[in-house]
Structures are given as structure tokens and as C-alpha cells.
């Protein structure tokens, strides 16, 4: 199974600023996703990170607020832009290897916006 390193693991940020979260995988993977999770709650898919092209965003999420890059098959970044306290959440990177939809996750980034 893929090993995923996500950083930072946590951060406290001022409102109006931006934070970039990095996701590094130890092998080439088919698909990479970014999720948001409120503590104790389920995961909401933000977008699919596409290698070499624009990410595919889910309803309620837009590129201006959550720009995503995926320059190669092992690395992706998610930026949370112009943050407000409502953006305080856990952000998770996830990958799927091959054709089977079994996901592996990073440990998450706990973001607090003050």
C-alpha cells in the first residue's frame, strides 16, 4: 500500500491569509483526492487532483478558494485561500492505486483559523 506524507500536520493561521498543504506519495498512483473533515464527522470530497491539468471540483468548492496542483504522479498541493474561521477543519489527502477503489490516506492537516 502507498505511504502518504502530508504536511503540515497542523497549523494556526490568521484570517485572510492562505495555507498550502503538501501531499507526497512514495509511489506513482492513479488518482489523488482532497477531502475536508470536521472533527468526529465524515469526509467531504473537495476535488480530484488531475496530473498535468486542472483539478475537478465537487459542488460547493471552487478553484479560486481551493487551488490544487498535481505536477506529477506522486505529489499534490491544496491551498486554502483567503481563510476565514469557517475553513477551520481537517484536510486529508487520499490516493487510489490501480483500478481498485481502495483509498489510502495521509494523516491529515488540522487547520485552525483565528
Amino acid at each position: 500500500s502507498a505511504v502518504i506524507s502530508q504536511k503540515p500536520s497542523r497549523d494556526i493561521c490568521q484570517r485572510g491569509t492562505s495555507l498550502t498543504i503538501q501531499c507526497q506519495v512514495d509511489s506513482q498512483v492513479t488518482m489523488m483526492f482532497w477531502y475536508r473533515q470536521q472533527p468526529g464527522q465524515s469526509l467531504t470530497l473537495i476535488a480530484t487532483a488531475n496530473q498535468g491539468s486542472e483539478a475537478t471540483y465537487e459542488s460547493g468548492f471552487v478553484i479560486d478558494k481551493f487551488p490544487i496542483s498535481r505536477p506529477n504522479l506522486t505529489f499534490s498541493t491544496l491551498t486554502v485561500s483567503n481563510m476565514s474561521p469557517e475553513d477551520s477543519s481537517i484536510y486529508l489527502c487520499s490516493v487510489i492505486e490501480g483500478l481498485v477503489t481502495e483509498a489510502f490516506f495521509g494523516q491529515g492537516t488540522r487547520l485552525t483559523v483565528v
Binding site: I4, G40, Q41, S42, L45, A103, G106, Q107, R110
Partner: protein, 107 residues
């Protein structure tokens, strides 16, 4: 939009008790996964079920996929405090997740 309805959302039981968590949908899935998540960590895959009616066992955990591949259940026998965590079902090509079941097993 494919939705996964998971129940119950919260479960607090004593060590040694049995429990069942349900995951239901109106959609048919080619496969369904169950994950367990502990605080400060990402979800970890427990099992994937693929065939309608399939039953898989993982020690004290029993997973079943409905005959019509629209629903699934997770049964834990003789729960232990180490089973405490958030249990999530997921399915679909982009892995949509159920609401989760927060399980607390008290010694």
C-alpha cells in the same frame, strides 16, 4: 448524487457487547469499503466487499454486502476498548463516504 446513509451515528457500549453498523443506499455499487479512523489519523481501510451477499471476517469484525449491492453491514462481536473509533463506509468511483459511526467501547 450517490448517497450513503450510515447508522447509528453514535454508539456507546460496554466491553464485551456486540454491535452492528449499517450502510444503506438507493444506488448499486460495484464495491464498498469500510474504514476505521482514530483521532489525529487518516482513515484506514478495513475491508472491501465486491460480490452481492458476500461475507468477510476480520477477527471479531464481520462485514456483509447486500444481495443487491446497495447496502452493507459491519458487525463487531465482543467489542473491546481498542475498537473505539470512527467507522466509515465508502463507495463509488470517487469514494463518497457515509456520515460515519462514532463508536465508544467502555471498559
Amino acid at each position: 448524487t450517490q448517497l450513503l446513509e450510515q447508522s447509528p451515528q453514535f454508539l456507546s457500549i460496554q466491553e464485551g457487547e456486540n454491535l452492528t453498523v449499517y450502510c444503506n443506499s438507493s444506488s448499486v455499487f460495484s464495491s464498498l469499503q469500510w474504514y476505521r479512523q482514530e483521532p489525529g489519523e487518516g482513515p484506514v481501510l478495513l475491508v472491501t466487499v465486491v460480490t452481492g451477499g458476500e461475507v468477510k471476517k476480520l477477527k471479531r469484525l464481520t462485514f456483509q454486502f447486500g444481495d443487491a449491492r446497495k447496502d452493507s453491514s459491519l458487525h463487531i462481536t465482543a467489542a473491546q476498548p481498542g475498537d473505539t473509533g470512527l467507522y466509515l463506509c465508502a463507495a463509488g468511483g470517487k469514494l463518497i463516504f457515509g456520515q460515519g459511526t462514532e463508536l465508544s467501547v467502555k471498559p
